[in-house]
Symmetry: C2
Subunit: 264 residues, 2 copies
Amino acid sequence: MRVVAPNACDMSDPAAFPRLLEILRAPETPRVWSLLVTIFGDLAQEKDATLSGTALGRLTAPMGIKPEALRVALHRLRRDGWIESTKTGRTSHYSLTGAGRRESAEASPLIYGPEPRESEAALVIAEEDIGTADWVRVTPQVALAPGRVSVPGAFVTEITRDTSLPDWIRAKVCDEDLCAACSGLAARLGAFQVDMQTAVPLSPIERAILRVAIVHGWRRVILKAPLLPDHVFPEAWEGARCRERVAQCLASLPRPALAEIEST
Amino acid sequence: MRVVAPNACDMSDPAAFPRLLEILRAPETPRVWSLLVTIFGDLAQEKDATLSGTALGRLTAPMGIKPEALRVALHRLRRDGWIESTKTGRTSHYSLTGAGRRESAEASPLIYGPEPRESEAALVIAEEDIGTADWVRVTPQVALAPGRVSVPGAFVTEITRDTSLPDWIRAKVCDEDLCAACSGLAARLGAFQVDMQTAVPLSPIERAILRVAIVHGWRRVILKAPLLPDHVFPEAWEGARCRERVAQCLASLPRPALAEIEST
């Protein structure tokens, strides 16, 4: 199934792609519907972009996803209004719905962009208990909020890179598990970068699969983290390192055109 | 009992002193032992300074204190180790003990001095409940502290004159009753200053009594207030105005020598 086109240098190494994919493998098997969200978000977010069932099979099989599991996940995402499908002959073509595209677009700056909200954060002390979902609750009446907030009746003080924030407050921003997941990804990405330095040219579908594996790993970390600048996270948080490596890795794996993926 | 020495200007007005004392009268009758603490603190704080029972009677009678109440209060203060007494013939001479002098000296900067700790205050957010007596608790884990504090493990942010502090936090610094007591005193001191502009010269004992009335009124306000700069108090707090008027009034009533009080 794997095809490496011989190129000018002819340094073809059939083990390179499986090794690179193995390096990126997270400790937990990805949930298939979640992986599909990553695939559509990374490869087919544009309006009118579609992926055939065949292409989706080729993208997911190397990650150990069985065809039956793929079918179930596609059914679930269609039922949830995330994707829709059309049929041409015996082939199904899947694309994001308007809602799925909107949510993908909303997450994209976090996944592909620089540090959120730059260095801005605020500590808010309110008279009543703070229940805002987007904020990190520090005590019942104290929260960390992203950006420059103005809250009527609350005391607000800016938190900059130079603010000394005690560890117990940082620990509320991100628990040890998420810090560990982030460090694990940073390590895998670092190993991936080393291996990529000597890797042979990869096929479009291989590039697509590796991109998806990278984006999926990062999504699972960064979308669980609060929308706050890195400097309020615990010392152990390697979000900045991960973000940088994700950007470098994706730059080394140009996104293939959909036609390339379909025609592999 | 009242003696006004005729002076060069001879503008003697026998009603002036009772009127001035009446202006200063607080809504509540002072507790005698507390008034004695004021008297010793203002007139006889120096080491070896004594006041005779006779002089104490002359200082307190115009405020409506009966001899019997004076005797009871003197007994209580002696029992509590605040004052001690020696006898010369039939006359008792009272003076502060070492402890009484130390506590008086400790309160003096607050009573006679400028705004405490200048403009410095800090907001402290601690991991555990804050139980420090000197601080103002804002929420169980948030407190206002005077000066520049450094608390291991706590988040500390400086509160300056320019910090926007919401009303509900200011309200924790000082309740409405104390704000009202402060405003009442500010008003009495203002009226006193107006009346003093046309007042005749006062005798040493009259100056002493008026000083005691002023200092006692101010003590009852400022020693109940937390040790924090005025700018974190509620809008209604007239502490700065009171402090200024107290200083002006006391400057217009030079402290008599003990010998002048005793010989009146």
